[in-house]
């Protein structure tokens, strides 16, 4: 619980929801109905409706990006460092919309929702999703809120992929696109780690072919291992070394004992895995990683990303972090170069950071400055 709500916080926020009867046609060819989207807003939509900013969340994210749900909350939303009065996404200027994507497990329609055809949870029968399906449903929310054009669409990691997809599918409906620690497609190594995560989940005997809710259980161990694998890839080797080194939590290096040692880093990872299993749905994790795998911005454009970006009227900010080995600076330079070839205005910044991929969530002064300067330059 915060002693008091900080002055630069958006304060107490209340999630809202909107229900669309559907059906919504998905990239897979299937239709989804009904569709509920849970979202939060921060700041005020101006009379010209020109100051709206969309926040797209990453793999394990959700709608609660800033502020507190109650005074009892022990921490604020996941991007509170960057959203609020006077912060880079300045709620004194912008009307910020942050949603839980469909397929999610934080209130929007997803695998834990009821399948109207069966009266049981969707589970593994929930339609496969692609990034373009999220963009499409985000546009439905946009329309419902009476917004014609986003001042900016902003996202990190998988969220950055959504921001780029906006430029392809709705090239005139955003003025600025902010892509942070992202990539135009996954590398083979990225795909490999996602495959391991899915194997861990589906190998868990409590997975029950995805119908675990009907068995009143969940593949907790498998999901925890999946999260541990993911978490290691979010951190840089140096950051892990500085945070944990070879410190022991339990046991001893001394000879003459059989007691198994436990390293702090192992204990930390297990804790991360277990708490994630408490709050996240395994089918959602499978869906999200599959959407990541599928994403390939330039595939429909002869593998030419400049062509993918050709039609958009947006301007761009692209940010990467030096020690991010999940979506390395090389991947962001590919985005920036494609934008230059497409003749688009792009600001690219590679931020020195020791925090790996997680850097996009962490307070880093130069990141804040670059991000804030760019956002401040956006006319509303």
């Amino acid at each position: 619980m915060p002693a008091e709500i900080p002055a630069d916080s958006v304060g107490i926020v209340t999630p809202q929801q909107i229900d669309f009867p559907g059906p919504v046609q998905l990239a897979s060819g299937r239709a989804l109905a009904p569709v509920r989207i849970v979202y939060e807003t921060y700041g005020t939509l101006n009379a010209a409706r020109s100051n709206a900013v969309l926040i797209c969340h990453a793999l394990s994210g959700h709608h609660h990006a800033a502020g507190y749900h109650s005074l009892a909350d022990d921490k604020p939303g996941w991007w509170d460092y960057y959203i609020g009065p006077g912060k880079p996404i300045d709620t004194n200027r912008f009307f910020v919309v942050s949603l839980n994507n469909i397929g999610g497990c934080h209130g929007s329609t997803g695998p834990t929702s009821t399948n109207p055809d069966t009266g049981r949870p969707w589970g593994p029968d929930f339609p496969r999703l692609r990034v373009r399906d999220w963009v499409k449903t985000q546009a439905m929310l946009m329309d419902a809120l009476g917004i014609d054009v986003w001042a900016a669409v902003v996202g990190g990691s998988l969220g950055g992929m959504q921001a780029m997809r906006w430029c392809v599918d709705y090239p005139e409906r955003l003025r600025h696109c902010v892509v942070i620690a992202s990539a135009m497609k996954l590398t083979a190594q990225n795909l490999a780690f996602n495959e391991i995560a899915r194997q861990a989940i589906t190998s868990d005997p409590d997975f029950h072919d995805g119908r675990y809710l009907e068995h009143d259980t969940a593949p907790r161990k498998g999901l925890a291992i999946a999260r541990m694998v993911g978490h290691v890839t979010y951190l840089s080797g140096d950051a892990m070394g500085q945070k944990f080194g070879r410190d022991l939590r339990r046991g001893t290096f001394e000879p003459g004992t059989e007691a198994t040692i436990e390293f702090q880093v192992g204990s930390y990872l297990r804790y991360q895995g277990e708490t994630f299993s408490d709050r996240f749905d395994a089918n959602t994790y499978l869906l999200m990683t599959q959407a990541l795998d599928y994403f390939d911005l330039a595939r429909d454009f002869n593998d030419n990303p400049a062509q993918a970006f050709a039609k958009t009227g947006s301007r761009f900010l692209v940010i990467s972090f030096t020690t991010d080995w999940r979506f390395s600076p090389e991947r962001s330079r590919e985005i920036a170069n494609a934008l230059l070839r497409a003749g688009k205005a792009v600001t690219y910044a590679e931020i020195d950071s020791e925090y790996g991929h997680d850097a996009f969530l962490i307070p880093i002064e130069r990141y804040r400055q670059v991000f804030g300067t760019y956002m401040h330059s956006i006319e509303v």
Copy 2:
């Protein structure tokens, strides 16, 4: 099956075994008896007994390092590129000894062996091992073979740790020490991946607290996931990209279908995991990763590795590979620098390679040259 045995092969080899009644005192304080060691030799021990080279194997290695067990073998031993007539470890000059370490699962006493106290497999009751226990039992084999001093002790990865430990525990019993793609201790990131591997194994319901053999089963899925995690860390991101890219094995990227796509890289990894589960024991994997975790060459020397190396009469070759991110060149430079501070003769080479940690097993011309030149300089 080779069409014919190549001229630069050691040819058909037959594993040998030696039984020690024990007990052997281990670092844990426990004693192990009896102890069987399975090994192979290539080349001929000279009259002066001065040309013996010890090969120390890595995590999943074993005694079969070179040649063929029969004409029906489809491939030779795991280091056949580097051991044979005219090869870097030249069997025209050297008498090469390659063993399966205790705790292993290829014939030497390990968790699948019978515990004489119970008549059942040792399983999880097999004593915890440290690198120094392997060096001690390697010295027992050395004595039994009538060798006083090794011309060289050679190892890659975990094998390199054994080679370094020889210099601490038997400083006068080796003339040369060859440490390839290794480290004086694991990083936090290394520890994290090992922890994930162990979690995958012990979370498998077929693990049965390690007594799976008594249940006539094995934690195959958990071990496969552990191997997949390991395998990704053995390869460089670039090598995976070049080998697999985003090539599909099954399914399609085309919209309008729900068929799940399968990437070549995922299929490859699953195959690696499954075949590993067929041939490797899960308790051995746990033991080996724990020994890796424990290893810290300088811990008993005030964290001063130069002090650890101080007493040895050995000379050194240290080799690293540019894209190895499991044991990066930085780790090898730490070894070389410690040796220089200790006043030891050291040749250090950082080999350009795209193959990640696996490079130490792969034919690379400059690696072969550096390794061969050094080994050729050793007087026998």
